[in-house]
């Protein structure tokens, strides 16, 4: 038989749907409905991994998301999924499962040698050694790095896509066990919008694992029926396979839905996962509880399992996790497991119960079945290597009670509510002595129900769930929930647990006893940590790495709290647990990124002329979100050639530039002029309609924030241009002042950046081009002088034309509605063709403006530059206040040795200075070497036939003509330069006035 440990009846698996997956290449037969873990167990595979530090053999411990051991690698190549839990991964046909963290094989792992030196590498050993010789650290580290880590990252980009959904509801129920199902049912009944999420493929929670009845039917049947009702209700969204991994402030809950395609080998490009971002009005938390492991020697051997998990494998998956069992418990629930095992024909050789007198219904029944029960007994030690072989029992006083052979050792140390989500949002919890665990305090926006609230009886759980659902719906405004009757179940009573943390007396010496199986944190490690003063639970965590693994200590932390409390002789409530944080279960980065990758990573903004630029062969540059034409190389041209050609075309004939990305703000109202006076350094009220002016805007710290031209459209309307990058920030800044500080000013601001496209014609022939394209605007110099604007038509399209210039040439900036801009652009290009019109990009624009010494905010300036520093002191009005003015008279703002804008000319005219290169008085080997400033812009100027550069140099303006040196970046050379006036071309500004 291919599945020797498959029980021949029962279970929720589909025996008609067999399938095969592989584990380390070995074929594993299983059924639809199996997890990888149940499939492995059915085939007798119990060794599934090696531990993180000591590489000890490890097996399956649980049947859920809390497993500390069962990490495997799924698939390979681009679709591989590292560190997945076998216990929650559905078995699918052809799935390739591999172990992690062992080499060359799981059976024979060379690193298990660490086990031999374990006594010398306790928690934090690396803090005490590996320090000498100092230069060996990289070597030690190399070794540590390769020993650590678990699975392997994929080796190629992710072929999957990930979906994101925003959802709103009245009641979100997390967990679809009996409590959650009852809650969802009650809440849905009121008409409230309900979302019910459960991380498992099948709703039902613990009902799927036990043989209990609800409303007189087997638990699973009741769950199925309830699910059917819920799925039929239009106001309910049922989300199986969906983990709530984070609860944030404002009650934002994050769910990760595992789609069927979240398998390494699926084909196609469907979604790998879906993130739900839920903003519920109310939350019902029905996440159940995690069973607590117990301490004894070798408690990590494969075959040592949580008792509840054994029941799950037997009842839900029809798998016998072993052939002869011993159980070790401090509460009644393990007896249920004993009965389940017996029912399935698996002998239970012994139950060691910490309690001296276990006499509830369940223990009595177990005794009646003839199972040997050892009261007041514990497991001292587990024998066996790659699998548990026997359990050594003894009394609490340490008296041996015999060694019982077994290959399965079920443990149950009680139950700790899965309050992770509640705690993530700093919801308050309290120590519940009857549970010996923390339980959430209700209120704080959540309604806990069932095991998470500390309720371990089924009938009470169902009542509590129903109540929580109704209460939550009522709190969300739906008040008829009390009509729903709670489903019924047998009221059973369980005897209280007897907390068992630290094995008493000599028992504690058995070695090793693992508190955190994933991180290989032992009882001795906790002792060492406390001994060395790392006493706070957060110190213990960080020093020993307790709970820091991929399982986040779901099993370990509740145990550690009790153990530490006992070691310190303190109340567990005062010890606490390490802070809970998202994610409850890990979530892939791609799923969190969602659609915002690849083409949808971030909006790419383009102008109406984009396709024209593409056809014309433009290369593009990212400027913020904008994609702008950078230069237009012709076949065979380098960037340098293309830019030189474009520059000369503008200087000699005419060029055309798409400058649509500039910000444009209409400033309207009777106080518009006053407003501009306050936000710009210069004066605006007296600007005549039809005229333009260049303005500088400062932060209140006096530093240049933005610059641009503003035109007065008419008496009460101005049009402000901002730099591309600052379009949004400037508008926000202006609105803030207007609304919060000067609400008395009657001014309205409206962004028209996108309505108007801006086409710049520049060069001596630009007037001719504009005329040829057809315009009703009179273009003669006296009719339309420099720094004015006219309204009219260009190429048949309504236009605002500005005679302003960023190149120093005769120039028109033609604003036309964006929906007809392409037409106008083409008309201008056509009209200009006989005149040699040349499209130019941002690079040429930069060269041209640098030849004129015009600054670019963000290139010449860096947030520490005043108007005076860049030689624009004349724009500072003395007669009025404006934003930032006061800062200009602070002591540091008036230092004579501030960095100032100068030009730099290299001795070698062919030498283009490196941008960013630093300027010094005299080169030398001394470090640090005093620096005078740095090169902000540097180009080869085709019209001048030589290189030019702009630089910010300390006290620069006072020392024009001085000999300075610029450092190269790569080859340790010094380039001799002379400082000069930063206007290299047409210093009188004659050309723009023609």
């Amino acid at each position: 038989m291919s599945q020797p440990f498959r029980l021949n009846r029962g279970g929720r698996i589909d025996r008609h749907a067999p399938l095969q997956f592989t584990f380390d290449g070995r074929p594993i037969d299983a059924y639809n409905g199996d997890t990888v873990a149940s499939g492995l167990l059915a085939n007798g595979v119990t060794l599934v991994g090696r531990s993180f530090k000591y590489h000890r053999p490890r097996g399956i411990v649980s049947a859920g998301a809390e497993d500390p051991n069962a990490f495997v690698q799924l698939g390979h190549g681009a679709r591989t999924l590292p560190n997945r839990l076998a216990t929650v991964t559905p078995a699918t046909p052809g799935l390739k499962v591999r172990h992690v963290n062992a080499w060359p094989s799981l059976e024979y792992d060379v690193m298990s040698a660490f086990g031999l030196v374990a006594p010398f590498i306790p928690a934090g050993f690396y803090y005490k050694t590996l320090m000498w010789p100092r230069r060996f650290w990289p070597l030690y580290e190399h070794f540590l790095r390769h020993a650590a880590g678990l699975g392997h990252a994929p080796d190629a980009p992710d072929p999957d896509r990930y979906d994101h959904v925003h959802a709103h509801c009245d009641v979100l129920v997390v967990g679809a066990g009996p409590a959650g199902l009852a809650a969802a049912h009650a809440a849905a009944h009121t008409g409230a919008r309900v979302i019910l999420a459960d991380e498992q493929a099948e709703p039902g929670g613990i009902l799927l694992s036990t043989c209990e009845h609800v409303d007189d039917q087997p638990g699973p049947n009741w769950a199925d029926a309830t699910v059917a009702k819920l799925s039929a209700a239009p106001n309910v969204t049922l989300l199986p396979n969906t983990t709530a991994f984070g609860l944030y402030e404002s009650n934002l809950v994050l769910l990760a839905e595992r789609l069927i395609t979240d398998q390494p080998d699926h084909a196609g490009s469907e979604h790998g996962a879906r993130i739900w971002r839920v903003l519920p009005k109310q939350i019902v938390l029905a996440t159940g509880a995690h069973e607590r492991p117990l301490l004894f020697g070798n408690n990590d051997r494969p075959g040592v399992m949580l008792a509840g998990a054994i029941s799950t494998y037997v009842n839900r998956y029809a798998v016998a996790p072993g052939s002869r069992a011993v159980l070790f418990t401090n509460n009644d629930s393990a007896y249920r497991t004993a009965l389940d095992l017996t029912d399935a024909g698996i002998p239970v050789a012994a139950i060691a119960d910490v309690r001296s007198d276990p006499d509830g219904d369940l223990p009595s029944e177990a005794r009646a079945q003839g199972i040997p029960v050892y009261p007041g007994a514990v497991v001292r030690h587990a024998h066996g290597g790659r699998r548990v072989a026997a359990a050594e029992l003894c009394s609490l006083d340490g008296d041996p009670l015999g060694t019982v052979e077994c290959d399965l050792l079920g443990v149950s140390g009680g139950f700790a509510p899965a309050l992770h989500l509640h705690a993530q949002a700093r919801g308050p919890s309290q120590w519940d002595p009857t549970l010996a665990a923390f339980a959430p305090k209700p209120g704080h926006g959540i309604h806990p129900a069932g095991a998470v609230a500390g309720e371990l009886e089924l009938a009470a759980t169902l009542r509590q769930g129903t109540q929580a659902g109704a209460t939550a719906a009522a709190a969300a405004g739906y008040s008829n929930g009390n009509e729903v009757e709670a489903p019924g179940a047998n009221d059973s009573t369980q005897a209280p647990i007897q907390p068992y943390w630290l094995p008493p007396g000599n028992l504690a010496r058995a070695k090793p006893q693992f508190v955190d199986l994933h991180e290989d944190v032992t009882l001795d490690d906790l002792r060492l940590s406390l001994r060395e003063g790392y006493e706070s639970i957060e110190h213990v965590k960080r020093y020993t790495t307790l709970g820091m693994g991929p399982d986040q200590g779901k099993l370990a932390n509740p145990l550690a709290t009790g153990v530490i409390a006992q070691l310190l002789g303190r109340d567990p409530a005062s010890v606490g647990t390490p802070r809970h944080r998202p994610a409850y279960s890990p979530v892939s980065l791609g799923a969190i990124a969602g659609r915002h990758i690849g083409p949808l990573a971030d909006p790419v903004r383009v102008t109406p002329m984009q396709e024209w630029h593409q056809v014309a062969g433009a290369r593009f540059e990212n400027v913020g979100q904008w994609r702008r034409a950078w230069y237009y190389p012709q076949p065979g041209e380098s960037m340098h050639d293309a830019v030189a050609r474009e520059c000369l075309a503008v200087r000699r004939r005419v060029g055309i530039l798409d400058y649509s990305t500039l910000g444009k703000i209409e400033v309207t109202g009777p106080d518009a002029g006053e407003f501009l006076d306050r936000v710009y350094t210069n004066a605006w009220k007296r600007l005549r309609p039809g005229r333009c002016r260049y303005g500088l805007m400062l932060g209140e710290d006096g530093m240049i924030f933005d610059d641009g031209v503003t035109a007065r459209l008419d008496d009460q309307r101005y049009l402000m241009f901002t730099s591309t990058a600052n379009a949004a920030p400037v508008l926000a800044w202006l609105e803030q002042w207007l609304q919060t500080e000067w609400p008395d000013l009657r001014v309205y601001l409206t962004s028209v950046s996108e309505h108007w496209s801006n086409i710049a014609l520049a060069g001596p022939r630009s007037r001719d081009v504009l005329a040829a394209a057809g315009t009703d605007i009179r273009l003669a110099r006296q009719d339309f002088p420099f720094m004015t604007f006219r309204e009219g038509h260009v190429a048949g399209v309504p236009a605002r034309v500005f005679r302003i210039s960023f190149s120093g040439e005769l120039s028109y900036e033609i604003n036309v509605p964006a929906d007809r801009a392409r037409h106008v652009w083409e008309a201008l290009v056509d009209a200009g063709r006989p005149l040699g019109i040349t499209p130019y990009g941002t690079e040429t624009m930069h060269v041209l403006r640098a030849e004129k010494g015009f600054i670019i905010v963000g290139q010449e300036t860096d947030g520490s530059v005043t108007p005076n520093d860049v030689g624009l002191g004349r724009l500072i009005s003395r007669r009025k206040d404006f934003l930032g003015k006061r800062s200009l008279s602070r002591p540091d703002s008036v230092r004579p040795d501030r960095k100032q804008l100068v030009g730099l000319l290299t001795d070698d005219p062919a030498q283009v200075l490196p941008e960013g290169g630093h300027v010094v008085d005299a080169p030398g080997p001394r470090r640090p070497l005093p620096m005078r400033g740095h090169v902000t812009s540097s180009y080869f100027s085709p019209v001048l036939g030589r290189s030019i550069a702009l630089a910010m140099v300390a006290g620069g303006r006072a020392t024009l003509g001085e000999r300075l040196h610029v450092a190269t970046l790569h080859d340790d050379r010094w380039l001799p330069v002379r400082s000069c006036n930063p206007v290299f071309y047409d210093p009188q500004g004659a050309r723009q006035h023609v």
Binding site: E249, L252, A732, Q736, Q739, T740, E741, D881, R886, S887
Partner: protein
């Protein structure tokens, strides 16, 4: 994620908003009359309170209005919101 109560649009997620820092820092009417210290106090010094904090927000992706929110900076609990002219 904060839900910011826009006095006009109601609670919206915080990425629709721009945070504008502490409220109630009026711009001096005559900056030139201030000492450097007084100007620095206006410009840079902040209460940065842990606890009740009055602050400015703008519903940037919504109605573009600036308004004042009171929030406990220790817990991020929102305590209230008001408009500049107090009459939405």
């Amino acid at each position: 994620m904060l839900l910011i109560p826009c006095p006009w649009c109601g609670p919206r997620e915080d990425d629709e908003f721009t945070f504008g820092g502490e409220a109630d820092i009026p711009r001096p009417t005559d900056p030139d009359a201030l000492t450097d210290e007084e100007w620095a106090d206006y410009l840079f010094m902040r209460d940065n309170r842990r606890g009740r904090h009055r602050e400015q927000w703008c519903h940037t992706a919504g109605c573009r209005r600036w308004f004042i929110v009171e929030r406990d900076t220790a817990t991020n609990q929102i305590l209230g919101a008001s408009t500049y002219d107090a009459s939405p």
